[in-house]
């Protein structure tokens, strides 16, 4: 028996002994048991925390990271075995967080070793929850037009400004921020700063969305003092770091694209929804227009799913695929289309805001339809994405 096989046996045994049975059911989208980590997050099921802590103790939340960064220092082969066994046992991820998905890769690439040892372990262990301070009221598509000012006062920066669209700022412990250290240079005057949300001068206000939900916040920073050792990279390197981080963000959005390919919030395929609201004739959707519309949608879902697979295969073989530049806006539009189609199928029941006699599914169709409108705005509008493809992929002139 090889060493790797023995490791596999050990992992399997450890999972059997340590995975909380109450987490057997797969994690749903937007579940209150999403393991965001951090000091403020509360879970419906306390076993979420148990699992997070057990995995953290082994360093297995981030198995390939070095132990001094909160990992287990596993080889890629061992890490693959670990992932395979976790998947085979149907384990939920121990931590899902912006710190892990977005900040950590940037810290690995741009931070000092001292910063890495300080900031990475709490991310790995789910102790600190991060949020992202990028957009500002006047800097959306033109992100580099940001105005939040960080003034160099010797041993610290004095930060003043406002951030917007900060997801879960009210739940986060720290924020990674783009700030302006030099007003003279648009792109070259931006720096990347880590700020404790408990600092005096920070105020957070949730933003109510048209869907009634408010995962986003405004963050107001007034004379916030930030120690200089919290600057990642050199002053003025913020734009370079930001662009890299946005790549990680888009990649993580792309993995969520598959949502647009599914059915109703209750998991029912569109055809079934159409049957139940528009009736059946000879075993088929009675309304010919809806049948055509559902067929059109499902066929496009197949095309998009195959294209996402091709992006993965191409990336595997040839490095980043040019195709990946179109997947975000493509997926956004398709998800929006799906929700429009569901509202059309349900008709007035698809405009259900709340309460009886509407089913949970009906209310969710309406709310998620509204929420889906943001897909083509957040993480770079589809218009901006399209401009980028026109220039970078198709080589069209300015």
């Amino acid at each position: 028996m090889s060493e790797l096989d023995r490791f596999r046996d050990d992992v399997r045994a450890w999972i059997a002994a340590n995975y909380p049975p109450s987490l057997r059911e797969p994690l749903r989208v937007d579940s209150p048991d999403t393991p965001w980590g951090g000091r403020k997050t509360r879970y419906a099921n306390p076993d979420v925390q148990v699992w997070m802590d057990r995995m953290a103790a082994k360093g297995w939340s981030t198995p390939e990271w070095q132990p001094e960064h909160g990992g287990a220092g596993l080889t890629p082969e061992h890490a693959r075995v670990l992932r395979e066994e976790l998947a085979a046992a149907g384990c939920r991820p121990p931590v899902i967080s912006f710190g892990l998905m977005m900040l950590a890769p940037v810290l690995h690439e741009f931070a000092s070793e001292e910063q890495r040892r300080h900031f990475l372990p709490p991310i790995a262990r789910g102790e600190i929850r991060w949020c992202q301070g990028y957009s500002e009221p006047g800097a959306g598509s033109d992100l580099a037009g940001l105005k939040t000012r960080a003034e160099d006062l010797g041993d610290h920066y004095l930060v003043n400004g406002q951030k917007i669209w900060t997801s879960y700022a009210d739940q986060a412990d720290w924020i990674f921020c783009l700030v302006r250290t030099n007003p003279e240079s648009k792109h070259g005057g931006i720096s990347f700063l880590l700020i404790d949300m408990a600092s005096p001068g920070i105020e957070v206000r949730p933003i109510q969305l048209i869907s009634g939900k408010s995962p986003f916040c405004e963050v107001f920073l007034t004379d916030v003092r930030v120690p200089k050792q919290n600057l990642v990279g050199k002053p003025g390197e913020g734009w370079k770091i930001a662009k890299r981080l946005l790549q990680h963000e888009r990649a993580s959005i792309s993995t969520h694209l598959q949502t647009g390919l599914g059915g109703s919030p209750a998991g029912r395929p569109l055809a079934e929804l159409a049957r139940s609201y528009a009736g059946e004739r000879d075993g088929r959707i009675a309304d010919a227009h809806l049948r055509d519309a559902v067929a059109r949608h499902e066929m496009r879902s197949e095309a998009i799913a195959l294209t996402l697979r091709r992006v993965q295969e191409e990336s595997g073989k040839q490095g980043p695929s040019a195709l990946s530049s179109i997947t975000k806006s493509l997926g956004a539009q398709h998800n929006k289309d799906k929700h429009e189609l569901m509202v059309e199928i349900l008709s007035l029941a698809g405009t259900a805001w709340d309460g009886a006699p509407f089913t949970d599914e009906e209310v969710e169709v309406c709310r998620q339809w509204l929420r889906s409108k943001g897909n083509s705005i957040e993480g770079g509008t589809s218009e901006i994405q399209t401009n980028i493809v026109a220039k970078q992929v198709l080589g069209l002139p300015d």
Partner: protein, 380 residues
């Protein structure tokens, strides 16, 4: 046909636009929503509308109306649509008023028309039974019982159904589902035993209710017109409703478009107004074009209601609702997208127009419903 406004009409429109802006701005809808107002519209403003004569526009002078006609009421609704103003004009004046006018010339109907003209009462047409518009799918029954009737069934999405003093109920006295024959109209006091009403919460924060009828006993005077003869009346009522709802929708679409156009001119990114980007310009022109097409169709349909004998009304109503639906759908989506992140927030108004759009699109038939109906009417 008057596709272009004359002076009286232009004056009416400007009065109504000013009224909407000053008395019923979007903030009014927000207030009704956020305070959970039980009525769902502003009763003072409603009285003022009556004073302006808007409640009597479809009612002849002998009954207290002014006969200004559908075109005039369309201009009013278009103006009110601009601010998403909630009022019982559609439920009471348009749907119920038209039903009363066409179903009966007996005294109970005439009396109600007088009250409508005076703005003294709110009525609701209890007709729809499914979330998807199916005008003839009426399962509610009215069974003869001695000299009277007993009604049983469930009506859904009844506009102003929870506040109406009187309900106009479409029930089946004969025939099976989807049969246009056998439909009858009943006038029910809202307080009649056996009626239970449940207000719905829809995305657009406007009034809608489910109405349950459980062994509701009424005497024979509750029957409006002949038993079984309501089919053609209902068709006319729905067509008038479709056209006047379209007027409200077009006003809303126009406002959403203008707000967005203004935003395109003001919002700066990359040092220039985003409205200078050609891709957005072309999309703005598309919205403008669709709105202007819809306006032509709407004005023609309103004129047809006032002028022609009615033969053309079903086709015009169907073209109108389909065209306005598609237009409002497009404009409401583009308005949110072009506003970007801020358009996703409850703080700005575009989201409210989006919500109203889908409710209004589904009410009295989606574009697909009306394309199918058009084909039927045209015999293909």
């Amino acid at each position: 046909m008057a596709l272009v406004l004359d002076q009286d009409q232009a004056l009416l429109r400007s009065t109504a636009t000013q009224f909407a802006r000053e008395r019923l701005p979007v903030a009014n809808l927000r207030r009704l929503r956020d305070t959970g107002d039980a009525t769902g519209f502003d009763r003072d403003a409603w009285r003022e509308m009556a004073d302006l004569g808007w409640t009597g526009m479809l009612i002849p002078e002998p009954l207290g109306g002014n006969g200004f006609g559908h075109f005039g009421l369309g201009l009013v609704l278009e103006a009110l649509g601009r601010t998403l103003a909630a009022s019982p004009l559609l439920s009471t004046v348009v749907l119920s008023g038209t039903a009363l006018t066409h179903a009966s010339d007996a005294e109970p109907a005439r009396n109600l028309l007088r009250q409508i003209a005076a703005g003294e009462t709110v009525l609701a047409l209890a007709h729809e039974e499914h979330p998807r518009h199916r005008p003839l799918a009426i399962a509610t029954t009215a069974r003869r019982d001695g000299e009277g009737y007993v009604l049983n069934g469930r009506k859904r999405f009844v506009i102003d159904g929870h506040v109406a003093e009187t309900l106009l109920v479409v029930a089946r006295t004969a025939g099976a589902d989807d049969d246009p024959r056998g439909l009858s109209l009943f006038l029910l006091d809202g307080a009649t035993p056996g009626i239970s009403r449940h207000r719905l919460s829809l995305a657009d924060s406007r009034n809608s209710a489910d109405v349950q009828l459980s062994d509701v006993r009424v005497d024979r005077t509750a029957l409006l017109g002949e038993a079984g003869a309501a089919g053609p009346v209902l068709e006319r009522v729905l067509d008038v409703g479709r056209i006047l709802l379209s007027a409200e929708m077009l006003g809303a679409a126009q406002q959403a478009f203008e707000t967005t156009l203004e935003y395109l001119k003001q919002r700066q990114q990359f040092g220039v107004p985003i409205g200078s980007f050609q891709a957005l310009q072309h999309r703005a022109v598309q919205m403008y074009t669709e709105i202007e097409l819809a306006r032509s169709v709407l004005h023609a349909a309103l004129t047809a209601l006032d002028e022609d004998g009615g033969a053309d009304v079903p086709r015009q109503a169907t073209v109108c609702k389909a065209c306005v639906n598609d237009t409002f759908h497009l404009v409401s989506n583009e308005a949110v997208q072009m506003h970007g992140g801020i358009g996703m927030t409850d703080q700005v108004d575009v989201g409210l127009y989006l919500k109203r759009a889908r409710v209004a699109e589904a009410t009295l038939g989606t574009a697909a419903f009306h394309r199918e109906r058009y084909a039927t009417l045209q015999g293909f």
